[in-house]
Amino acid sequence: MSTEEPKIGVFICHCGSNIAGVIDIPQLVEYTATLPNVVVAEDYRYMCSDPGQDLIRERAREKGLNRVVVAACSPTLHEPTFRRVLESMGLNPFFFDMSNIREHCSWVHTHEEEAALEKAKDLVRMAVARAAELEPLVQKEVDVKASVLVVGAGIAGIQAALDIADAGYKVYLVEKEPSIGGHMAQLDKTFPTLDCSSCILTPKMSLIGQHPNIELLTYSEVREVDGFVGNFKVKVERKPRFVIEDKCTACADCLEVCPVNVPDEFNTGLGWRKAIYIPFAQAVPNAYIIDTEHCLGMTPIACGKCKDSCEAEAIDYEMKPEILELDIGAIIVTTGFKLFNAMEQLEYGYGKYPDVMTNLEMERMLSAAGPTDGKIIRPSSMKKPKDIAYIQCVGSRNERYNNYCSRVCCMAALKQARQIREKYPDINVTIFYIDMRAFGKGYEEFYESTSREYGVTFVRGRVAEVRGSFDSDRIVIRAEDTLLGQPVEAEADIVVLSCGIQAAENQGDLARVLGIQLSADGFFLEAHPKLRPVETNTDGIFIAGAAQGPKDIPDSVAQAKGAAASALTMVTAGRVKVQPYAAVVNEELCAGCGICEASCPYGAVKVVDNVAQVTEAQCKGCGTCAAACPNEAIAPQHFTMDQIIAQLDALFQEAR
C-alpha cells in the first residue's frame, strides 16, 4: 500500500458531441471538483488526442498528481492510450482508472439528459473512490518459444501451418484423423469457380508432408495444455496406426488379402473399405492404418494376413499409444466442424428412405473418384433419377436445432445443382429454400447463371414433410410456396438434405483442455467479433476456420492466414508482455475446495496440496474466482476487494 496521499486528476472528455451533446459537461466538472482527493477536474474536446494527452501531462506536473481518472469512452478502447501517458510521466500506469460515460451514459440515455448526468456523476465518483485505492503493479515480460502448434489439419490448419513454416518457424501439425485434408478433401468441386477441390488441395497437402519445418502428427490428439502464452507445454497422444508410416509404401498388397469389408467413412458410407486401409488416394501421410475395431483380432493366430503379405515389413501389431511432450510458443486451433446429423430432423425421413441423402453424400457421388465414379444413381434402385429435390436449411435457421445460418449450404446446393444439370441435362433439379444467400465474391453471379442458364427450379418455402409415395417408389415433398402463398406437393427420385455446419464433436472438451471459451452456439469464441476475430481470450491461442463459426473455404483460408500472421507476430518478437492482473491466493484462508479452479475460464488456477495456486501468466485478472471463492481467499490484484467496496460505498452514498 502506498502511503502518500492520493492526488487525483479527473479529465472529462467531450468526445466531440458524443458525450457533450447529452451530458452537461460544466456541471459534471463542477461536481467532480468537490469529490474527495480530487485536485484537478478539467474537460477537453478529445481527451485521446495529442493535445488532450498533453493536458494530462501538464496538469500532473503542475499539481503533482499521483492518480489519473479519465471519464470518456470504454477502457477497451483507450485504457492502453492513457496508461502510456502515465508511463511517459514516470507514473505507474496502473494508477489509472477510466469511467465510461459515453457507452454507459450519453449513448444509452440520449433522450434523458438529466438522468445521464446523474449517472455520469455516479460513475465518476466511483472511479475516483477506486483510484484512491489503486496499487502500483509491474508488468512482466516472458520469452516466447519459437514453435507453433496447429490443431486440426483441414484447409485452415494446412494453410496456417504452411504460412508459419515458410516464415522459418517450427510447426507441429496435429490431426485426429489418419490423414490431413479435412472436409475439403471430400468435396468434388468448389463454388463459385468450380475448381476441382482435390486439385487445389492436394498440392498443399503434399507440401505439408515434405516441409522441413513441419512435424506432422496424424492420428493424434491434444491431451493436455499447461503453461501460458509463449511457454505452453502440450501433451499430444499419438494413437497407434499399427502400420509404420516410414516403411509403408502404400503398395496395396495388404488390401488384396484383408478379408474384412467396412463401410467407407470417407465416402460417407456409400462405398466399402478394408480393415487395413488408406482413407483416400491422395492421403498424407501416404500410409495405411489398421482399424482395430473391425480387424479380426490383431494377432497372427486369428488372421495376420496383412502382415504376411507386407514385403516392407511395415505392419506392427504391438504398436502402443505414445505421448509426446512439446514446448510451444503459440497455438492455432483449426478443428473444423461436424455436419448436422440429418437423422435428428425426423420429418425429412433421412435413414428411413434410402433415396433421402445428405449434401455430403451427393458430393461424394458427384466426385469422379467417388463410390459411383461420378454417376448419379438412386441408392434404392441403383438407377438414374429423373427428379432431384434439394431441401435447404436442414438443422440451420431453426429454433429446434441451430439458430444460425450455416453460410455454405445455399452455394453448395447451387453448385451441385449446376453440376448435375451439366452432366445430365435431362434430370430436373428443384431447390426448396427459405432465402438464397449468395453473399461472397462472385456468388450472386453464380446464383444468377445457375438459375437462368442451367434451368434449376427454385421454390421458396420451408419443407414440412418428406414421405414415400403411396403409388410409386418415389418420394413426396410437401411444402408451402410462400411466393404463391399456397401449399405445394412435389415428387422426386432423390431428396438431398442441405445439412448445416455444427460445432465439432467434443469441441467443449477441447476448449477445456486449451482453456478457451465457446460461444452459445458451441463454436470457439473469439476475443472480439470485429477487431480481434482470430484471437481467443487466452493469450497465445488463436482460432481459424469453421471451428470459430460456419465458414466457406475462402473465408477459412483468409482467417487461417490471419491467425498465422498473429501467431508469427508473437513468435517473431520473441518476448511478450504479461498483464500484472493475476489473482493472489491468501493461503491462510484457502481450504483447497477447488471452486476457483472450476470457475476459472482460463485454466489458470489449480489446487495443489490443498491450496489453490495461480499461474500468473495464464490469469487475466477477470475476478471470476474472487466472486466464486466461498471464503474470500483469492482476489485479482487490479480489482481488489478494497477497490470494489470503495466503489460500492461511493455508489450508495447519496449523490451530493
Binding site: 460445432a503 469441441q507 467443449g508 472438451d509 476448449a511 477445456r512 465457446l518 460461444s519 452459445a520 458451441g522 491462510e588 484462508l589 484457502c590 481450504a591 483447497g592 475446495c593 477447488g594 471452486i595 476457483c596 479452479e597 472450476a598 470457475s599 475460464p601 489446487v607 490443498n610 471470476t624 466472486a627 466464486a628 466461498p630 471464503n631 474470500e632 481467499a633
Partner: protein, 312 residues
C-alpha cells in the same frame, strides 16, 4: 486459588449442546476437577446463574422470547467471558428458520391450525408464558460475545480445546478455513450437470460430494469440525455457519454452485433447471444461519409485506 467457575444458560434450544458437554466422556472428570460448574439447567435445579458471578458463561440457544432476553442480559452481566455455544446461539440455528413466518402465523399454526390440536375456543396462551419476539435472534443481537463455538452441537474435541484455552488464558480461535480443508474426499473435476438430493443416488465413497451433485455446504462453512459429515458421506449442512471473512453463507453457496456446473455451454443445464433441482433454497443454504444472514431483515420485512398484501 479458587477454581474458575462456569455457568451454562439455556435459551431457545433442544439441549443437545449441553449433552455435547457430557459427551466429553473420559475427559469430563478432568474438566470438572479443573472448573467449578456453578449452573447448568439440565443437571442442576437453579433458575438463574449465581449472583456472585462466574468466570465463563456459555449460552446455548437463540433468543425467541422476552424472558430469554432477560436471562441473556443476566448471564452477560454475571460472566467475565461469554461464549456463544452452538449454532442456535451463534446464528439462530434451526429455530431461526421460523423467521420465514410472522409471529402471528406461528401462533396460529401451533395453537389452532395443527391437525392434532383441540382448541375449540381458539385460545392463544398469553398470561403465564413469556411473550414471543417478532423473530428469532442470535445472541449477538443483544449482547457482546467474546467467543463463538459453533456447531450443532459443537464437537466435544473443540469444547475441550475451548475449555483448555480458557483455563490457560489463551485466545481461542478456529482456523479461518472452510470444512473442505479437513475433508478427506478427493476433489477431482467440478463439472456437475445436475444436482441431486441425498439418498437418491449411490454415493461414490472416494469423491467430493459436491462434485457428485449433492448439496454439500462444506466450501462455504467454517471448518474445524474435522469434516465429520462428509467423512461419513453425508453432505455438510453448514452448522458451523459462515467463516469470519464472509458476510453471507447462502450468497457464497449460490456463487459456488454457479462455478461447479459444467462450463461447456452445450452441455450445461439451464439456470432455471438448477433452481428446480434445489427444492428448499433457504432451508438448504441457511439451515442454521438464516437469523444471522444478510437476507434476514429484508426477508422478514418482505414476508410480512407479502402476507399483508395478500390479506388486503
Amino acid at each position: 486459588m479458587t477454581k474458575p467457575s462456569l455457568a451454562v444458560e439455556t435459551l431457545s434450544i433442544c439441549s443437545g449442546c449441553e449433552i455435547a458437554i457430557l459427551d466429553l466422556h473420559q475427559a469430563l472428570p478432568g474438566v470438572l476437577d479443573a472448573i467449578d460448574l456453578k449452573y447448568i439447567q439440565v443437571l442442576m435445579d437453579f433458575r438463574e446463574p449465581p449472583k456472585e458471578g462466574v468466570t465463563v458463561g456459555f449460552v446455548s440457544g437463540g433468543v425467541r422470547n422476552e424472558e430469554q432476553v432477560e436471562l441473556l442480559h443476566k448471564i452477560r452481566e454475571r460472566s467475565q467471558i461469554l461464549v456463544a455455544f452452538g449454532a442456535c446461539s451463534a446464528f439462530g440455528g434451526i429455530p431461526g428458520l421460523a423467521n420465514l413466518h410472522t409471529k402471528d402465523e406461528l401462533l396460529q399454526e401451533v395453537y389452532i391450525d395443527t391437525v392434532s390440536t383441540v382448541n375449540p375456543k381458539g385460545v392463544i396462551p398469553h398470561k403465564v408464558v413469556p411473550p414471543l419476539l417478532e423473530e428469532v435472534h442470535p445472541i449477538s443481537d443483544f449482547v457482546k460475545v467474546d467467543y463463538v463455538l459453533p456447531g450443532c452441537p459443537p464437537p466435544p474435541k473443540l469444547i475441550a480445546e475451548l475449555v483448555t484455552c480458557l483455563l490457560e488464558g489463551k485466545e481461542f480461535r478456529l482456523e479461518p478455513k472452510t470444512v473442505c480443508d479437513q475433508c478427506p474426499l478427493t476433489k477431482d473435476e467440478k463439472s456437475v450437470t445436475n444436482f441431486i438430493r441425498w439418498g437418491t443416488k449411490k454415493i461414490d465413497p472416494e469423491r467430493c460430494l459436491l462434485e457428485q451433485g449433492f448439496q454439500c455446504l462444506g466450501p462455504v462453512t467454517q471448518g474445524g469440525c474435522e469434516a465429520r459429515c462428509p467423512t461419513a458421506l453425508a453432505p455438510c449442512r453448514g452448522c458451523f455457519g459462515p467463516t469470519e471473512s464472509v458476510h453471507d453463507q447462502a450468497a457464497k453457496m449460490i456463487g459456488a454452485i454457479g462455478s461447479v456446473v459444467i462450463q461447456d455451454p452445450t452441455k450445461a443445464p439451464a439456470p432455471e433447471q438448477i433452481v428446480k433441482e434445489i427444492p428448499d433454497l433457504v432451508g438448504t443454504y441457511l439451515r442454521f444461519s438464516l437469523a444471522a444472514s444478510t437476507f434476514k431483515k429484508a426477508l422478514h420485512t418482505n414476508v410480512v409485506k407479502m402476507k399483508k398484501g395478500v390479506k388486503a
